[in-house]
C-alpha cells in the first residue's frame, strides 16, 4: 500500500512538472477568480483556524477572518479548502485544488524558492514552553539532552535541529505535543508564539519559558505563475493593515501585540535582518537530492525495524495465547478470546493508538513512552491476526496426530507443545510472514505520536529537498529490503520446521 502511494507520488510529481511548464505560457487567466479558493488545515489549528468547542459546526480563527476580509476587498467569494498542512506548498505548486494558501506559512527563503509570497500579515516569534514547576528551563541552551517537541517542517523544527544535542520529537499537529509536555513525555515545546498564547490560556501547569525569539512573519503563498494576483493581494493586505481591519481581527483573538506594529513599516530589507534563524538555514548549502539522504533514511529505518520486530514478537506470543484460549479454553475463556479478536480486528489501528497513547494517560495516568505505546498498540492489534493464523494452523493438523501422541502416553500439554504446535507453526508461517511484511509498512502509523520512522522521514526530507522521485525510490528500496529479508528468514525457518 505504502509503496503504491510512493509510486503515485512520483507519478504526480512528474506529470505536474510537465503540465506547469507547458500550461503557463498559454491562456492568461483573470487575475482574481470569481471564487477564491484558499487552503489551510483545520486539524489542531487554534487560533489560526478551528472549530470552537462550544459550536463545532462553525469554522473560526484569525486566518479565516483574514481570508474573508481579503475576499471582501477583492470582490470575490472566499472558499475554504481543507488540506494536509505539511503538503500545502507542494499542493499549491501542483495547482488545481486551490488558488492561494493562508496557513501560517513562514516567509522564509526556503518557501520563497518554491512559491511566491505576499507581504507579511502576521509577526511572530518562537516561544519555548515548559512545565510550570520545571524552573530550570529558560532557553534552548538549557535543553541539551532533553526531549523537545516541534511541529514537522516548521521554523521551530529547523531551529532545534540546528541547535544540536536535543532529543527532538516531531509532531504532525499542534495540540498533542502540549499534552505530552503536561504528561512529562516531553521537557519542552518550541512553537510559534500565537499557538503558545492560545494553548497556555487553559493549561495552568505549563508556562512560557523566556521571551519569544527568532522573529519571523506569516505570509500568503501564491503560485509563481500568478504575479498579478500577488500584486492585488499585497495591495489589499496593505490597506487592511493601514485602516486597522487587521488589528481589529487580531484583537478579537487577543493576539495583537507590539510586534504586530512592525507589519505597517515592513519592507524587504527588514526581513533579512529579523529572520536570523531562517537566514542561517538559507546560507547552509541545500543538500542535493541524492544518496546523501541514504544514511538519514537508514537511521529512520532502524526505528521502523525495531518497532516492527518488537510488535511482532508481542503479537506472536499473545496471539498464540489467544489461539489456544479460543481452541481449548472453557466457554467463557473462548468467548473472551473471540471478543478480543473481533474488537481488535474490527476497529482502526489509529484509533487504538490514540486510545493507548493519550487515552490511558488521560484516564488512568498510565504514561507510556511513544515507543512503548507504538509497540503495544501494533502488538495487541496484530495479535488478533496471529491468533487466527495459529488457529488455522492448529485446525489443519490431522486429528490422528493428537490420538497417536495421546496413545503413546504423552500428556495433552506435551502433545500440544511437541507434536501439534511445530506442525501448526509450519502451516501458519506464510500468513505470519505476510503480516510481518505489512507490519513493516503499517508501523508508519506511529509517526502520529512523534516517532520519526522511515515513511515520516521520507515525507519530511522530500519536502525539504523537493524531490519525490529520488527519495521515493530510495525509501521504497529500503522497505523492499526489509520485506525481502523477512521472506528469506521465513523460508529458512520453513525449511527447518520441514514436513
Amino acid at each position: 500500500m505504502r509503496r503504491v502511494l510512493i509510486l503515485l507520488l512520483i507519478l504526480m510529481a512528474w506529470t505536474t512538472g510537465v503540465r506547469s511548464t507547458s500550461g503557463a505560457a498559454q491562456t492568461p487567466e483573470p487575475a482574481i477568480p470569481q471564487v477564491l479558493r484558499w487552503a489551510n488545515d483545520a486539524e489542531g489549528g487554534a487560533p489560526y483556524i478551528f472549530h470552537p468547542s462550544d459550536n463545532p459546526d462553525q469554522l473560526v480563527g484569525f486566518e479565516v477572518e483574514l481570508a474573508q476580509a481579503l475576499c471582501d476587498r477583492l470582490g470575490c467569494t472566499s472558499q475554504f479548502v481543507q488540506y494536509n498542512w505539511a503538503n500545502l506548498i507542494p499542493g499549491l505548486r501542483q495547482g488545481g485544488n486551490y488558488d492561494i494558501v493562508i496557513a501560517a506559512l513562514e516567509r522564509t527563503p526556503e518557501n520563497l524558492a518554491l512559491v511566491a509570497m505576499s507581504r507579511p500579515y502576521f509577526a511572530f516569534g518562537q516561544q519555548l514552553v515548559a512545565r510550570t514547576h520545571d524552573t530550570t528551563i529558560q532557553s534552548l541552551g538549557d535543553l541539551v539532552g532533553h526531549r523537545i517537541g516541534v511541529l514537522a517542517s516548521t521554523l521551530s523544527h529547523r531551529l532545534v535541529t540546528q541547535q544540536g544535542g536535543l532529543e527532538v520529537r516531531v509532531y504532525d499537529e499542534n495540540v498533542n505535543y502540549f499534552r505530552d509536555l503536561e504528561l512529562g513525555r516531553l521537557d519542552a515545546v518550541l512553537t510559534d508564539s500565537p499557538i503558545a498564547t492560545v494553548q497556555l490560556r487553559n493549561r495552568p501547569n505549563l508556562r512560557a519559558a523566556g521571551p519569544p525569539f527568532a522573529p519571523a512573519y506569516y505570509a500568503i503563498a501564491v503560485p509563481t505563475s500568478s504575479p498579478e494576483l500577488l500584486t492585488r493581494i499585497n495591495g489589499t493586505l496593505e490597506s487592511l493593515i493601514q485602516d486597522g481591519t487587521l488589528e481589529r481581527i487580531y484583537r478579537r483573538y487577543e493576539l495583537w501585540g507590539p510586534q504586530q506594529a512592525t507589519l505597517a513599516i515592513w519592507n524587504t530589507a527588514a526581513v533579512s535582518t529579523t529572520t536570523s534563524g531562517a537566514s542561517t538555514a538559507a546560507t547552509r548549502p541545500r543538500p542535493k537530492p541524492t544518496l546523501r539522504y541514504f544514511s538519514i533514511l537508514m537511521e529512520a529505518a532502524v526505528t521502523t525495524v525495531w518497532v516492527s520486530l518488537a510488535s511482532m514478537a508481542l503479537a506472536m506470543t499473545w496471539g498464540l495465547g489467544l489461539a489456544l484460549a479460543r481452541r481449548y479454553g472453557s466457554r467463557p475463556v473462548r468467548w473472551m478470546a473471540i471478543s478480543y479478536i473481533e474488537v481488535f480486528r474490527g476497529t482502526p489501528l489509529l484509533l487504538q493508538l490514540y486510545f493507548i497513547y493519550f487515552g490511558l494517560a488521560q484516564q488512568w495516568g498510565w504514561k507510556l513512552s511513544a515507543g512503548a505505546a507504538a509497540v503495544l498498540t501494533l502488538g495487541l492489534n496484530y495479535a488478533a491476526n496471529e491468533a487466527e493464523n495459529f488457529r488455522a494452523g492448529l485446525e489443519a493438523v490431522p486429528r490422528g496426530q493428537t490420538e497417536a501422541a495421546l496413545a503413546l502416553g504423552l500428556s495433552p500439554a506435551m502433545t500440544l507443545r511437541r507434536i501439534l504446535l511445530p506442525q501448526a507453526l509450519r502451516i501458519s508461517l506464510p500468513g505470519i510472514t505476510n503480516d510481518l511484511i505489512s507490519l513493516f509498512k503499517d508501523s508508519s502509523i506511529v509517526s502520529v505520536i512523534g516517532l520519526v520512522e522511515l515513511t515520516k522521514e521520507f515525507l519530511i526530507r522530500s519536502l525539504d529537498a523537493g524531490d519525490y522521485i529520488g527519495l521515493g525510490i530510495l525509501t521504497a528500496a529500503i522497505y523492499l529490503a526489509m520485506a525481502h529479508a523477512a521472506s528469506l528468514g521465513a523460508r529458512a525457518l520453513e525449511r527447518r520446521l520441514r514436513t
Binding site: A404, A405, L406, L410, S411, Q423, T499
Partner: protein, 250 residues
C-alpha cells in the same frame, strides 16, 4: 491379563457397543472381525481411552478403571493405562516433522524420561527389529506405506506395552506392501506379545490368532478358537459374513 466386563458406548442416540465382555491372557493373540459399523474399531479405541466408554469395568494388569465414574475422568489414571497399551492405527499417524528414529524416541524420552542415549539405543534396536535400521534418519514422507507402518509398530513397542492394539494395520496399504507388516506382527506373536487386532484379512487371522471374536451390532455374536470359529461357524450371521468373504478374493 486384560479383562473387560459390560462395556457400553453410545454416540448420541446410537448404541455402538452394547455390553461387551472380553478376557485375554498374556501372550494370547485375538482377532476381532465383523462387518463395518459393528463397533470393532470403537472397542479398540475404548481400550486406549481415545473414546470414553459410558459404562463397564476395565482391568489391565494392576490398573483398573470403572467407566462412567468420576475417577475414570482422571487424566493421570488414563495415562497410566495408556502407557500399558500400544496402538497401531490404520493410517499410521507418524509425526511428519520427525525422522523415523525421532518418532520412536519421542515417548521413551518424554514419557518414560529415559536418558537420550538409552532411548537412542532402544529405538535403534526396535528399528532393526522391524527391518528399518537403515531408514532411521528418513522423514515419514520419504518412506513407503509399509515402512511407515513398521516404524509405527516400533514406536508403539518402545513403550514396552503389555498389549498391542492394532486397528486394521494393513487396510491402507497396497497388497504388495501388506506382507512386510504382517510378517512383523507374526514375529511379535511368536515372541509372545499379546495382540488384539481388528482385521479384514481372514487368512492372516487364521495364521496368527489363537482366538477369533465376531462382533455385530455392538455385541459379541460368536467367539472361540480360531479354527472352530472360521471353519465351523455356528451363528447364521457369522456364516453369512464368512460366506461373503470367501466369495471375495483376498
Amino acid at each position: 491379563m486384560i479383562e473387560i466386563v459390560g462395556l457400553r458406548k453410545r454416540f448420541g442416540t446410537v448404541t455402538v457397543l452394547d455390553g461387551i465382555d472380553h478376557h485375554q491372557s498374556a501372550g494370547e493373540v485375538v482377532a476381532l472381525i465383523g462387518p463395518s459399523g459393528c463397533g470393532k474399531s470403537t472397542l479398540l479405541r475404548c481400550l486406549n481411552w481415545l473414546e470414553t466408554p459410558d459404562a463397564g469395568s476395565l482391568r489391565l494388569g494392576d490398573v483398573r478403571i470403572e467407566a462412567g465414574t468420576p475417577e475414570a475422568a482422571d487424566r493421570r489414571l488414563r495415562q497410566r493405562w495408556r502407557r500399558r497399551t500400544g496402538m497401531i492405527f490404520q493410517q499410521f499417524h507418524l509425526f511428519p516433522h520427525r525422522t523415523a528414529l525421532e518418532n520412536v524416541m519421542e515417548a521413551p524420552i518424554h514419557v518414560d524420561r529415559l536418558p537420550r542415549s538409552e532411548a537412542h539405543a532402544l529405538a535403534m534396536g526396535l528399528l532393526s527389529k522391524v527391518g528399518l535400521a537403515d531408514r532411521a534418519h528418513h522423514l515419514p514422507a520419504q518412506l513407503s506405506g509399509g515402512q511407515q507402518q513398521r516404524v509405527a509398530i516400533a514406536r508403539a513397542l518402545a513403550m514396552k506395552p503389555q498389549i498391542l492394539l492394532c486397528d486394521e494395520p494393513t487396510s491402507a496399504l497396497d497388497p504388495e506392501l501388506r506382507g512386510e507388516v504382517l510378517a512383523v506382527l507374526q514375529t511379535l506373536a511368536a515372541e509372545g506379545m499379546t495382540l488384539l487386532l481388528v482385521t479384514h484379512e481372514l487368512a492372516f487371522a487364521r495364521d496368527i490368532a489363537h482366538r477369533v471374536v465376531f462382533l455385530e451390532g455392538g455385541r459379541v455374536v460368536e467367539s472361540g478358537p480360531t479354527r472352530a470359529v472360521l471353519d465351523q461357524p455356528q451363528h447364521p450371521r457369522l456364516q453369512e459374513f464368512l460366506g461373503k468373504h470367501r466369495a471375495r478374493p483376498l
